[in-house]
């Protein structure tokens, strides 16, 4: 991943998304070990504090877990579906975006097509 400015998002959010994307696509499986904060920072040429913040959030969202002294791992249980508060918040964001798309005049079929693409793991 090359963290870039093509999205307007803070880098730590891009990193979070990237990890989640990799999990969704099966590149990262439950139990897989993530690079350490330091290694990830070196890899992406990012400030370690940025990476650290992303890892903390991922841990708070129960996507990853840190075993002290051993490393950071993708959580065994598939949590993403479970956390209802997060689903509600994300749904709200989705609805906002959908409103935007309607305003821009994008037809429903188009949007449905996009949703299918995302769920099939086609890289944008």
């Amino acid at each position: 991943m090359q963290v870039n400015d093509q999205s307007g998002l803070p880098y730590y959010e891009q990193l979070i998304l990237h990890v989640k994307q990799q999990i969704v696509q099966g590149i990262l499986q439950p139990g897989d070990r993530l690079p350490s904060v330091r290694d990830m920072a070196r890899q992406e040429q990012l400030n370690p504090n940025t990476v650290s913040k992303a890892y903390k959030q991922l841990e708070a969202q129960q996507v990853i877990t840190t075993v002290h002294g051993k490393g950071t791992y993708v959580r065994e249980t598939a949590v993403v579906a479970g956390d209802s508060a997060q689903v509600v918040a994300t749904k709200k964001q989705l609805f906002t975006l959908l409103t935007e798309l309607r305003y821009l005049g994008v037809p429903l079929d188009e949007v449905v097509k996009w949703i299918k693409e995302a769920y099939q793991g086609v890289e944008q």
Binding site: D5, P10, A41, R42, N49, K53
Partner: protein, 297 residues
């Protein structure tokens, strides 16, 4: 343990170069220092390290002023790219000086890094190319094991691979929160990913202290076109102009709120598009001479 700069001021030949500079610096932070050429970044560094005697203000490390407690100066490392004494010495000789000042100077690592970067320990410093000298300066900075390290244009004149090596080394040093860096650079791309914070120096003052990830969350860069040629009040009040071409305005709004969004949409812009925001945009927004809407006569 923090380093605090309080109201530091320095005039040279009756011209105020830096004035009322204050900021805090903690280990684990990478701070970028950015400003136009000649604005006084190097003067700031020289004043921080007491090579220039400040007229006002002080530098405190762990609460102790570096002028009254000179020993604290050893926690701060700065090697002036232009005025350093290394010219006449060979690379193997240089540590002999530094280890007498920096108690934790890592001589082994110094030698290893020389080897890693293919620098001959017998070379005379002044016979090295500009890029190689910058590299030696950086190696000295890292092996001094001082807590607060100032780097003045460390990427200048270095090729892409070496730059990445340097960035990696800086990241490594910062990862365990033991050291902090203050980096001045014109390479905004490099600083963008690397820095937690960016200080903007303009007209002898520190005009901005951006925490970059925060800015990225709250700021937006917009491309706008309006029907009439007058600039909306909401823009004048909340945004900084980066570029104008014809009717197209490119602006940066540092705190983009839903209210601002509403107000903009209410004006029925012909075009309202979000663009990705980079450090370069922040630079332009603050430091271009023609900042402001004078352009839009």
């Amino acid at each position: 343990m923090t380093l605090q700069v309080k109201a530091l001021s320095k005039a040279i030949n009756h011209q105020q170069i830096i004035e009322d500079i204050s900021f805090d610096w903690a280990p684990g932070e990478i701070i970028g220092l950015v400003g136009r050429n000649g604005v006084g970044k190097t003067t700031l560094f020289r004043t921080l390290t007491n090579q220039y005697v400040a007229e006002q203000g002080q530098v405190l490390i762990d609460g102790q002023s570096t002028t009254r407690h000179p020993l604290q100066q050893r926690q701060l490392f700065f090697l002036d790219g232009q005025y350093n004494f290394l010219s006449n010495y060979r690379l193997w000789e240089i540590p002999e000086f530094f280890r007498l000042v920096y108690a934790q100077f890592d001589q082994q690592r110094y030698q290893d890094l020389l080897v890693q970067f293919e620098l001959d320990r017998n070379s005379q410093y002044r016979r090295l190319s500009k890029g190689m000298r910058a590299l030696v300066n950086l190696i000295l900075a890292l092996t001094s094991n001082a807590t607060y390290i100032i780097l003045d244009e460390p990427f200048d004149g270095l090729d892409v691979i070496v730059r990445e090596n340097i960035a990696t080394m800086v990241i490594d040093e910062v990862a365990d929160q033991q050291k902090g860096f203050l980096i001045s650079s014109h390479d905004l791309n490099e600083l963008d990913g690397l820095s937690d914070r960016v200080l903007l120096l303009k007209d002898s003052r520190l005009v901005q202290d951006y925490h970059l990830e925060e800015i990225r969350e709250t700021a937006k860069k917009l491309q706008l076109v309006f029907n009439d040629k007058t600039i909306p009040a909401v823009l004048k009040e909340h945004s900084q102009l980066i570029r104008v071409s014809g009717r197209v305005l490119v602006v940066v709004i540092t705190h983009y709120t839903p209210e601002i969004d509403q107000q903009l949409r209410a004006l029925n812009p012909v075009l309202l598009e979000e663009l990705p925001l980079t450090l370069e945009d922040l630079f332009r927004a603050n430091l271009a001479h023609d900042t402001g809407y004078q352009l839009m006569k």
